[in-house]
């Protein structure tokens, strides 16, 4: 823990009695008052997250568009200026280097927001594939702080602090040079909770003041600081994957059920051939959603059975705070992945029946 990096908001977390843990080398709170209250605040009102641990990599240059496209599975060339896209960077075999957001300033300027646990790996991966592309690649992760304000009241709260009309920042677009309480910020309408909301990028030295201003501005709406615990339950309920759980070097985007973000246009990218082949030949296994039919809570790593045969494992599971049901995601053999079919989850000492349902649990 002593070696864990601190975000610019560390003192705020301590002051708010956050339970700080070592999260991929970052000292960050897992909860403040409690995961359930923070989760509910985001679903019903608003929550404010410190996501300064996320990585930011800037790619600029004449061939930026072609280079970014070469790295990404989604259709980068379809992006308009100031638009954002969710995409994967894959290995040649279709396994995932990372899942990320690509912010397009213009054809010669892109901003990549990557998982904290993958920053060094991603940066190295990108540099290793630069070859003759005429681009400059910069890892700006330490020069930027980021907060996420999420929930149905997010816009109303943030609007109090800026003259920029936030309605102009539509879903998956961004604006830079937004003044929030006089501080220069980049604001995007993005998030990881399944709710409306924004992610706000700022200079590290502005982070504490803005954190306090946002919490203060949202008092009457009932905003709460929210931490990593709620971030995970919220993203899970909304059907959003977590790198390391639903996606990894070993799990392709197609197996994760995220083929929508893998495009097979004429442009080549790393992993395209393998993914095309996997698509044509059919999957051997895939990630499904499930609901337990009896009491118990499924957890990451629990084994999945059909009769005596082990058919997979749980990638994420919770007693859903919003739905009150025990639900999870599991990576299972394809022949047992049909919607509505019955599987068994080995919850601690016994197997509990589960039904396969959609991963978009909130719908």
């Amino acid at each position: 823990m002593e070696n864990a990096k601190k975000t610019p908001l560390y003192e705020e977390h301590i002051n708010a009695k956050g339970k700080v843990v070592d999260f991929h080398g970052w000292a960050l709170p897992i909860e403040y008052e409690g995961i359930l209250q923070e989760h509910q605040a985001v679903r019903e009102r608003a929550g404010l997250f410190d996501v300064s641990h996320m990585g930011e990599i800037r790619i600029r240059g004449q061939e930026a568009e072609a280079f970014v496209q070469y790295l990404m599975t989604n259709d980068i060339k379809s992006l308009k200026d100031r638009q954002i896209i969710y995409t994967f960077m894959c290995y040649p075999d279709g396994g995932v280097v990372d899942d990320l957001l690509v912010y397009k300033y213009d054809q010669e300027h892109y901003y990549l927001v990557v998982n904290a646990s993958n920053i060094e790996k991603d940066f190295q991966w990108i540099k290793d594939h630069q070859s003759n592309y005429n681009v400059e690649i910069e890892n700006e992760s330490d020069e930027v702080a980021e907060v996420a304000i999420q929930g149905p009241k997010a816009e109303a709260i943030l609007q109090k602090l800026t003259d920029t009309d936030l309605k102009e920042i539509t879903f998956f677009t961004f604006k830079e040079g937004v003044e929030i309480k006089g501080k220069d910020c980049l604001v995007s309408r993005t998030g990881y909770t399944g709710e409306d909301g924004f992610e706000v990028y700022m200079k590290p030295e502005d982070a504490r003041e803005l954190w306090r201003e946002i919490l203060h501005a949202g008092e009457e709406e009932g905003i709460k600081p929210a931490a990593l615990g709620a971030r995970d339950t919220l993203r899970f309920e909304a059907g959003l994957p977590l790198y390391g759980n639903e996606l990894s070097k070993e799990i392709t985007p197609l197996e994760a059920g995220l083929g929508f973000f893998v495009k097979f246009t004429e442009d080549n990218y790393i992993g395209k051939e393998a993914l095309q082949k996997q698509k044509e030949e059919g999957l051997q296994r895939k990630i499904v959603g499930f609901e337990l039919m009896k009491k118990g809570i499924p957890r990451e790593g629990y084994e999945v059975f059909k009769g005596e045969e082990k058919i997979g494992y749980v990638t994420t599971g919770y007693l859903s705070p919003t739905l009150g049901k025990s639900i999870g995601n599991a990576l299972v053999d394809i022949e047992h992945s049909k919607m509505g079919s019955t599987i068994e989850i080995k919850v601690r000492k016994r197997k509990i029946e589960a039904t396969i349902i959609s991963k978009r649990f909130l719908k």
Partner: protein
């Protein structure tokens, strides 16, 4: 007269004659966070000291419950099945099981309240 003991696994044990009431400590509930599920054993089941007799689960994680002493289950607190959050509200009041003590000598293995406080300060 009852005597109160604790274990390094964060259970508390209240002993009255041959009977003991067992729950988890306030420190344990604080560490766990929001408790959302508790599974307890059946009445009449026999356990050895150190056996796991159930589970307490928070939003994030499952933690086994360990028998501080050997004994037979006399009663379980069924209220906790529907309202596990009671343990967050008051961990000392909301007991989990009552047992008939098999071997009173095992009580010597337990910590006093003062020893337990020292123990969690070191953790």
């Amino acid at each position: 007269m009852s005597e109160l003991f604790f274990t390094k696994k964060h259970e508390w044990v209240k002993v009255e004659g041959d009977h003991a009431t067992i729950g988890i400590s306030d420190y344990a509930q604080e560490q766990l966070g929001d408790i959302v599920f508790i599974e307890l054993p059946e009445v009449d089941e026999d356990f050895e000291q150190g056996d796991d007799f159930g589970v307490v689960e928070s939003v994030k994680a499952a933690s086994d419950l360990y028998m501080p002493i050997s004994g037979k289950i006399l009663e379980v607190n069924e209220e906790l099945e529907d309202a596990p959050e009671l343990v967050n509200e008051d961990a000392m009041e909301n007991w989990m099981i009552k047992v008939e003590i098999t071997n009173k000598k095992e009580l010597e293995d337990l910590l006093s309240e003062v020893q337990y406080k020292d123990f969690i300060e070191e953790e």
